[in-house]
């Protein structure tokens, strides 16, 4: 994928979405908001997991921490400051846990990140209970259009970042780590430093995304923002869309958001059932996702 194309495509798509949202009304603005949110999340996730092969099922933590930061600082600080702070907090957390967590490989890393996310959720829940706060109310939050603008910026940033890193020397090192970690280290890749850096980097934008999304409803609840469904959806979107380059997450997000819209009238459970089935089908029949399918040359 050419960089020139991306640099044109992203602002074009973003503007199109924004004005479409303005014209089509609040319902579609929310759809656009969701779509861009998932793009921001999946591109960031793919930056780490797609390139290094360490599948994280814990990115809900980054999202949740950002939301928590927003809920806590809402009345104290200006919003434009809280959002990046959410990202920084998420990144710091990732840095702190990175060394022990990244020593574990393969599927164990996957379930470890999942367990870690749940642990953080319950700890924060206990903290909130101890502080006497069960949920928070956020009044006077910006309207959906403003949130959409923020989210478009985050989605664009995440996509550009994923694209750029994928082609950079850093990205090559990450890919080498995925292919064979021992060989990579032997030919000079500083594997620990790179893994930690990519891991932390992949959580910053999701942290900011969480902060923005906390403003969506006036009601903040720990259990919701740290929901494993978020992590699970990210992975499913990238599996379905493909993780080879920056296109995949977009396709996966489009696919599942469209699916959600179609099934919206029916029930949230039905959507999740389709989600699960899609994951199973894609893992079995097309492990490289939609982009893999598109690129498959006839044998």
């Amino acid at each position: 994928m050419k960089t020139a194309n991306i640099i044109i495509a992203i602002p074009a798509a973003a503007s199109a979405l924004y004005f479409l949202g303005l014209w089509a009304g609040p319902y579609w603005q929310i759809v656009a908001l969701n779509l861009t949110m998932w793009i921001a999340l999946t591109q960031s996730w793919s930056l780490f997991s797609g390139l290094t092969g360490y599948i994280s099922l814990g990115h809900a933590v980054a999202y949740g921490l950002g939301a928590y930061v927003m809920a806590s600082l809402f009345r104290e600080w200006p919003i434009w400051l809280i959002i990046p702070t959410g990202g920084v907090v998420a990144g710091l957390f990732a840095l702190i846990v990175a060394l022990p967590v990244l020593r574990v490989r393969g599927p164990y890393f996957v379930i470890l990140t999942f367990g870690l996310a749940e642990l953080v959720k319950f700890v924060l829940l206990a903290v909130d209970t101890a502080l006497g706060q069960s949920s928070r109310l956020l009044f006077g939050a910006p309207n959906t259009q403003t949130l959409l603008l923020w989210m478009l910026a985050l989605a664009a940033a995440a996509t550009l970042l994923r694209h750029h890193i994928g082609l950079s020397r850093f990205g090559r090192g990450l890919i080498a780590i995925r292919e064979d970690e021992t060989a990579a280290e032997t030919i000079g890749v500083p594997i620990t430093r790179y893994k930690v850096a990519a891991f932390a980097l992949s959580t910053v934008i999701p942290g900011m995304v969480g902060a923005v999304m906390a403003l969506r409803s006036t009601y903040f609840e720990v259990l919701q923002v740290f929901s494993p469904t978020i992590s699970f959806t990210i992975v499913t979107m990238v599996i379905i869309g493909g993780s080879g380059d920056a296109r995949g997450p977009v396709m996966g997000a489009l696919f599942l958001v469209a699916l959600a819209e179609i099934l919206r009238g029916l029930s949230p459970q039905l959507y999740l059932i389709f989600l699960g089935l899609s994951l199973v089908l894609f893992v079995i029949f097309s492990p490289n996702g939609l982009t893999g399918l598109l690129e498959r040359k006839p044998r």
């Binding site: 599927p107 379930i111 367990g115 749940e118 642990l119 206990a126 059932i273 699960g276 994951l279 199973v280």
Partner: protein, 296 residues
């Protein structure tokens, strides 16, 4: 404080929970130990067993204990279906075990979501419970409900039966061989495919029974599975992956830790404890914290 720790009441509660954890862990050991399938849906099988028992009792009025064999068979069939549909081909292809592990993780994740939400769709997410064997028996200070005694008794019996099966019968020995060394088992002529079928059927069957027993003592919801999935992984890692006896001991240990944590601290402590142990166990593995396991 001391009288809390030494309370026979708590000990009994710990024994009941621990025996169920031991059973659930045994189920996972059978599936993971033999085929390296990371069953993230394991807790959902517990949930299905629990729901089956609930509906049996609600619809027929008969004791769920009578339905245990049926529920076990149900669990076994689910395991078999998943095996045939999703894993048989991959395992036969002799793919790199790491790849199989990774794929099984994702597949079971999808399966888990489907199971949870189909159940929620059919039965709604309202927590449910039922009353059965409600009479309370007292020995001195110790008050035990009949349902809990029954749950403990059944799980202990089942655990012993499984241990005997694994030790004394030919199938059982073959299962243990497969757990210990896949390639060697194949070379000495063990029909790996058949043993895998036995292992997954028993693993899922035992787990479903644990769920049925659990339903007599706890509220059930379609989403209760997560907690048991994590618990089962804690159990098998603590006890050593594939180590049957280690897993059983770890199950009782976890039950003990959990009951005491909840009593001394709070209900939230339970989740923090389980996930905390989980995280620590994986980071500090692979020998299994009790030091009696094997390397992963």
């Amino acid at each position: 404080m001391l009288d809390i720790i030494l309370s026979p009441q708590l000990f009994f509660a710990a024994a009941v929970l621990g025996s169920l954890y031991a059973l659930i862990g045994l189920g996972l050991n059978l599936v993971y130990g033999t085929m390296r399938l990371l069953n993230i849906a394991h807790g959902d099988i517990v949930m299905l067993g629990a729901f089956s028992a609930f509906w049996w009792f609600t619809l027929t009025g008969f004791s769920p204990l009578l339905a245990l064999p049926v529920i076990a068979a149900l669990g076994a069939m689910i395991g078999l279906c998943l095996y045939i549909l999703l894993f048989r081909r991959q395992l036969a292809q002799g793919l790199d075990p790491v790849v199989i592990e990774a794929r099984s993780l994702l597949l079971f994740f999808g399966v888990s979501v489907v199971i949870q939400n189909v159940t929620a769709l059919l039965f709604t997410a309202t927590p449910r419970a039922y009353r059965h064997l409600d009479e309370v028996f007292r020995i001195g200070d110790l008050a035990m409900t009949g349902s809990r005694i029954a749950a403990l008794a059944c799980s202990v019996v089942l655990l012993i039966a499984m241990l005997v099966f694994l030790k004394k019968t030919l199938f059982g020995i073959e299962v243990r061989a497969l757990i210990q060394h896949r390639e060697a088992a194949r070379i000495v002529g063990i029909n790996v495919e058949k043993v895998q079928i036995v292992a997954i059927s028993m693993g899922f069957g035992v787990t479903a029974v644990a769920g049925a027993l659990l339903s007599m003592t706890e509220l059930i919801t379609p989403f209760m599975g997560f907690r048991f999935t994590i618990a089962s992984f804690v159990v098998i890692i603590l006890g050593g992956l594939g180590n049957i006896k280690g897993g059983i001991m770890a199950g009782f240990l976890l039950g003990l830790l959990e009951i005491y944590a909840v009593t001394i601290f709070s209900a939230e402590a339970r989740s923090i404890l389980i996930y905390g142990c989980f995280v620590l166990a994986i980071v500090l593995r692979p020998q299994g914290l009790l030091g009696i396991g094997k390397k992963a």
